[in-house]
């Protein structure tokens, strides 16, 4: 049979253009990318769908002939990407027809690691797995069953959580969560509020935020601070492209990143910060802004909780009921400078009062301070000089950046990315960035990134819901890591290292089964070797994914997942409802929702009462129960839009679910609430933007507002203000002598997390992991350009190829995650050769609120390697065995 062949030159050309778009601006508003003039073969159908190789969901036109996808290009009508498509999206055909795809359910024969499998039916797979889970539950408790997923490429994120709640197990995790996005979703929910929207909820450009930037012909913002984010790499078709457009229109940018990314190359200022020290820098920014009064005084006074008095003994805000008998417990108190007394401040504001922002006052014998003063006290030590020393930056450049943000190029926004989520200062960094945006009043006004667009949650609600109320109180209290890290309750998730400890040491109880639905946990979780040790104790490991990875080598069952070209899913594009539409189906691959639904069903048949409830509409209400088929599930999800069916939805998509002028609304907080006659304010306890977070103290003590029950308190209260922790592994500590370089990671445009290392063209472009090292350090350690390097930490060692560049800060190195699918059948299973997470740190200290460990900002050393690692592929022709193998379309599997 003739091998299916893509035109390599067209692919590479498209890639080069996609890479170029982020560094060349367009002045006319038309897209820079010339339209692809691909020949359309006769008999080809063009299907509008969407990629899902990362969180961006770019619009795609898939060319389908005889049931086979023969070409992919960007969809120019999809507004977020305007026809751009990055290498990840373009690799869809090679992913779909990869010869090594998981095709059928398989069961291990032989020992773990021998890679010997037997094909079985879905019925047998589900039955055997369900029986084993039920046995484990009976013997050791439901909590001994653990699930995991991966973010980013998985749009239906809560599928595993839903199953675990149905099974009454509190334990599921993903390597992201506390290490990716959850610190920001949590802290922005507490500072700005939570609105059930998906776009504008926080400032993560990679997660559907930054919408104002996409209206680049109607720009209000004058600058943007790209803090710990590299959209030109992580989202070249959307946020990266958007940045090119706004820069071309005069928007200044500041990039804070140890790595000289394309965004840094085009920025007005690059601050090459020492990894792990972002909070120190942020506190200095806050200090400068307060000292020089660059904050929006009107907004701070009237729309934040900064004038409210805090009882410095209890750490709680004063209420009217504290100063007046019969006073309201929901009304806060200020120090009125006119009457020199504590006065209740009714919502939203009493113009008769003149609240103090600074000072210390005695109220009923107790020292109280406005929370503005407490913030000022907290940041007082953080001068520009101190920040410069800590962060390895020039204080003058720090000042220049602050002035761009707060004075010279306003309105502005701090857009915080994932890098700061990946070390124990995670929630403090998110808190600090929220404070900066609030201080300058960059909230819900034109040009602000924080917005309450009327997106009705369309992008976020039409997918698996958690069914969290099915998890019992008794079981929630067993969630690993929960007592210490209550911020995890927002995502209803457990802490990875607590799970690892339970797997390895058995306490407080043993984990016996792992249901894993994502790519390569050994490439994403910190300290890969520790996970391999822990897995040896598990009686059941199930891996559900599109293709085998290192993790598969340790599994007992391998189950085949659909690729994005085989998936139906509702999505959003600003105010339009859009659709990912399955264009074909291959082998016996299934949607994860269907698999977990069937697993819950089988467990219900075997007597699991909770799993039975998961199929009962009354028991699940107001959330939907499980459905037997994807069609029914999709019908249910889209029914929130006027009772549509999925068939109707996808035929109509894209369509506006709300007019743009209603979607893109501003100053919602000032709108009148018809119930109260007062302004709506914000969805926070004070209805103001909250800088001092009493809610964090409450969270630590009780688990509220996320837990329906009171939980045992943490040993030490969470801090209501951000604070800086010097990294546990730091160049300033003893370990810095043996391991002198600070390691960080960051995205590349060819992959998302550990995906796509098996795509031949992408591997041809980037066949190995690189380590970026400054020429000063390279010379010091005897490393030359292109050398193979041994990189070592206190956890282990791995390899990378040196890229000697001034684009990496002195004293720091950068390496992105990698693994080698070509080595799957060797003793390493592909996770040891060039895997930065062999080096990363999974141990305490953790972030107190959400339990973040250390993926970025730990110490390593480098030395020249005698040779390349064994068994790896680096030459283009070596990837030939992975070239697409055409296959016939098959029916969708449903029992």
């Amino acid at each position: 049979m003739e091998r299916f062949k893509l035109n390599r030159r067209d692919f590479l050309k498209a890639t080069a253009v996609a890479g170029t778009i982020v560094s060349v601006s367009s002045l006319t508003g038309t897209t820079l990318v010339p339209k692809a003039e691909a020949a359309t073969q006769p008999g080809t159908k063009i299907v509008r769908t969407q990629c899902r190789n990362c969180t961006a969901d770019c619009g795609v036109l898939a060319h389908v002939k005889d049931g086979r996808v023969i070409k992919i290009e960007g969809d120019p009508t999809f507004r977020r990407s305007e026809g751009a498509l990055c290498p990840k999206g373009l690799s869809g055909v090679q992913a779909l027809y990869h010869p090594n795809r998981n095709k059928y359910p398989m069961k291990r024969v032989g020992q773990r690691g021998e890679n010997k499998w037997k094909r079985i039916s879905w019925e047998q797979a589900i039955d055997e797995i369900a029986h084993k889970l039920m046995e484990i539950r009976a013997k050791y408790g439901a909590e001994a069953v653990m699930g995991s997923t991966g973010g980013g490429g998985n749009p239906n994120f809560y599928t595993v959580c839903r199953f675990m709640n149905s099974f009454d197990s509190p334990n599921w995790f993903e390597p992201g969560a506390a290490q990716c996005y959850m610190p920001r979703t949590l802290m922005y929910a507490h500072t700005y509020g939570l609105y059930g929207t998906l776009q504008g909820q926080n400032t993560s450009l990679g997660d559907s935020n930054g919408v104002e930037g996409y209206f680049y012909n109607d720009l209000t913002m004058k600058s943007m601070i790209l803090w710990a984010t590299a959209p030109s790499y992580s989202g070249p078709s959307q946020a990266g492209r958007m940045l090119a457009e706004i820069r071309a229109r005069g928007v200044k940018t500041v990039v804070i990143d140890p790595r000289f990314t394309p965004d840094a190359a085009k920025a007005d200022l690059w601050l090459p910060i020492r990894p792990g020290t972002d909070v120190a820098l942020g506190l200095a920014w806050i200090r400068y802004i307060l000292e020089h009064k660059l904050y929006d005084k009107d907004f701070v006074m009237k729309w934040t909780n900064m004038p409210y008095l805090v009882n410095t003994k209890t750490k709680y805000f004063l209420r009217e009921s504290d100063i007046k008998k019969g006073g309201d417990s929901n009304t806060y108190v200020v120090w009125d400078t006119k009457t020199k007394s504590a006065k209740a401040m009714p919502f939203p504001y009493d113009e008769q009062l003149s609240p103090a922002l600074e000072g210390s006052y005695k109220v009923n014998g107790v020292v109280c301070k406005p929370s503005f003063q407490l913030l000022k006290d907290r940041v007082e030590p953080w001068t520009l000089k101190k920040a410069g020393e800590t962060c390895w930056l020039d204080p003058k450049k720090i000042e220049e950046a602050i002035l761009i943000f707060a004075k010279n190029a306003t309105p502005s926004n701090v857009c915080l990315g994932v890098a700061t989520d990946q070390n124990p200062n995670s929630t403090q960094a998110a808190h600090m960035s929220a404070i900066l945006n609030i201080l300058v009043g960059s909230v819900e006004k034109p040009g602000a990134v924080l917005q309450r667009y009327d997106d009705k949650g369309v992008g976020g609600r039409m997918r698996s819901s958690k069914l969290r109320h099915l998890l019992s109180e008794k079981q929630l209290n067993k969630r690993l890591g929960l007592k210490e890290h209550k911020g995890m309750l927002q995502w209803w998730i457990a802490q990875p290292n607590a799970i690892l400890d339970a797997m390895t040491y058995g306490k407080p109880y043993k984990i016996k089964a792992w249901l894993e639905r994502s790519g390569n946990k050994l490439g994403t979780a910190a300290n890969s070797a520790a996970w391999v040790e822990g897995m040896k104790n598990l009686e059941l490991i199930v891996h559900f994914f599109m293709y085998p990875t290192s993790f598969t080598a340790y599994a007992d069952y391998v189950l085949p997942a659909v690729e994005w070209l085989e998936t139906d899913f509702p999505t959003a594009d600003f105010n339009a409802a859009t659709a990912r539409v399955a264009v074909t189906h291959t082998y016996e691959t299934v949607n994860e929702y269907w698999f977990f639904a069937q697993l819950a069903k089988r467990c219900a048949e075997l007597g699991h009462e909770n799993c039975k409830r998961a199929w009962d509409p009354k028991a699940c209400a107001p959330e939907p129960p499980y459905f037997d088929t994807m069609e029914k599930t999709l019908d249910n999800w889209v029914s929130m839009l006027d009772g549509m069916t999925w068939k109707e939805y996808k035929e109509k998509a894209p369509f506006e679910y709300v007019p743009m002028k209603e979607f893109r609304r501003f100053y919602v907080y000032k709108e009148t609430d018809p119930k109260t006659g007062k302004p709506k304010g914000f969805s926070t306890p004070s209805k103001k933007c909250e800088v001092y977070l009493e809610s964090m103290i409450e969270l630590g003590r009780t688990g509220k507002p996320y837990s329906p029950w009171d939980l045992p308190p943490v040993d030490v209260d969470y801090d209501a203000l951000p604070y800086y922790l010097e990294p546990d592994e730091s160049p300033n500590k003893a370990i810095g002598k043996k391991f002198p370089l600070v390691m960080s990671n960051g995205r590349l445009p060819y992959w998302h997390h550990t995906t796509l290392r098996n795509i031949p063209y992408l591997r041809e472009i980037k066949p190995y992991a690189e380590i970026w090292i400054n020429p000063v350090d390279a010379k010091k350690y005897g490393i030359s350009q292109g050398d193979w390097v041994v990189v070592e930490s206190a956890r282990g060692k791995t390899h990378a190829k040196a890229l000697v560049t001034e684009g990496e800060a002195i004293g720091c190195v950068y390496m992105e995650r990698f693994w080698n699918p070509e080595a799957l059948n060797t003793s390493t299973h592909g996770w040891k050769e060039m895997n930065v997470n062999v080096l990363s740190k999974n141990t305490a200290p953790f972030n107190d609120v959400v339990g973040t460990y250390t993926l970025r900002g730990y110490q390593v050393k480098v030395s020249k390697a005698p040779s390349a690692p064994k068994n790896i592929w680096t030459k283009p022709e070596q990837f030939e065995p992975w070239m697409p193998q055409e296959t016939d379309q098959t029916k969708i599997v449903e029992l």
Binding site: K107, V109, K132, K139, P508, K536, E539
Partner: protein
């Protein structure tokens, strides 16, 4: 039945077989019992029947044939002769060494030595499970235990440790094995 002199067997071979058994967490006890069972020569169909009787209320990954293969490849069983077309397997000297080294009484002793602070908990569970109990029943029985509360360790941890040591086994409920009962009787003076 031949009695192996454990010290005559190369440690590496014993270690390798133990590692192969340890690498199958859901079948370790079955693999061990099979070595014991095959200390008498057995046909493969007899072994299969015996394994199935042990696992009638269990879910394990491997078929009886796979388990025999694991032990054979690990050097614990060897085919000795055919009997009317049936293969006969017999525990090797390495297998016998593992039977002795890893016998439940040794494992229980090692468990108690490694966790002396929990011996009373283990003895209590062994005692209670002489009458079979479910996990939930054991949770209720042990609820007031001060050590478990203080250290926040659930009863399932101790149950799992005793299971791996061969002191209790699962047969719809948790039940103390004969070795567990013998241990109880031997340690009667120590029980509080």
């Amino acid at each position: 039945m031949e009695q192996a002199n454990v010290t005559d067997i190369p440690e590496a071979q014993v270690g390798m077989l133990l590692a192969k058994i340890a690498a199958e967490p859901d079948s370790r006890d079955i693999l061990y019992k099979t070595l014991v069972y095959c200390q008498e020569k057995r046909t493969t169909s007899d072994i299969e029947t015996q394994i199935r009787s042990w696992t009638v209320n269990r879910s394990i990954l491997h078929t009886p044939q796979s388990l025999m293969t694991i032990l054979t490849e690990g050097g614990g069983l060897q085919p000795v002769e055919s009997d009317e077309g049936q293969t006969i397997l017999h525990t090797t000297s390495v297998g016998n060494a593992v039977v002795i080294t890893a016998c439940p009484s040794n494992r229980l002793e090692a468990l108690f030595d490694s966790e002396p602070e929990y011996v009373q908990i283990y003895l209590r569970i062994l005692q209670e499970c002489v009458t079979p109990h479910t996990l939930s029943e054991m949770e209720d029985i042990m609820e007031g235990n001060e050590t478990m509360k203080k250290e926040n360790i659930l009863v399932s941890y101790f149950i799992s440790e005793l299971e791996e040591a061969g002191g209790i086994e699962w047969d719809i409920k948790w039940k103390t094995t004969q070795t567990g009962i013998d241990t109880l009787n031997m340690l009667k003076p120590l029980r509080s």
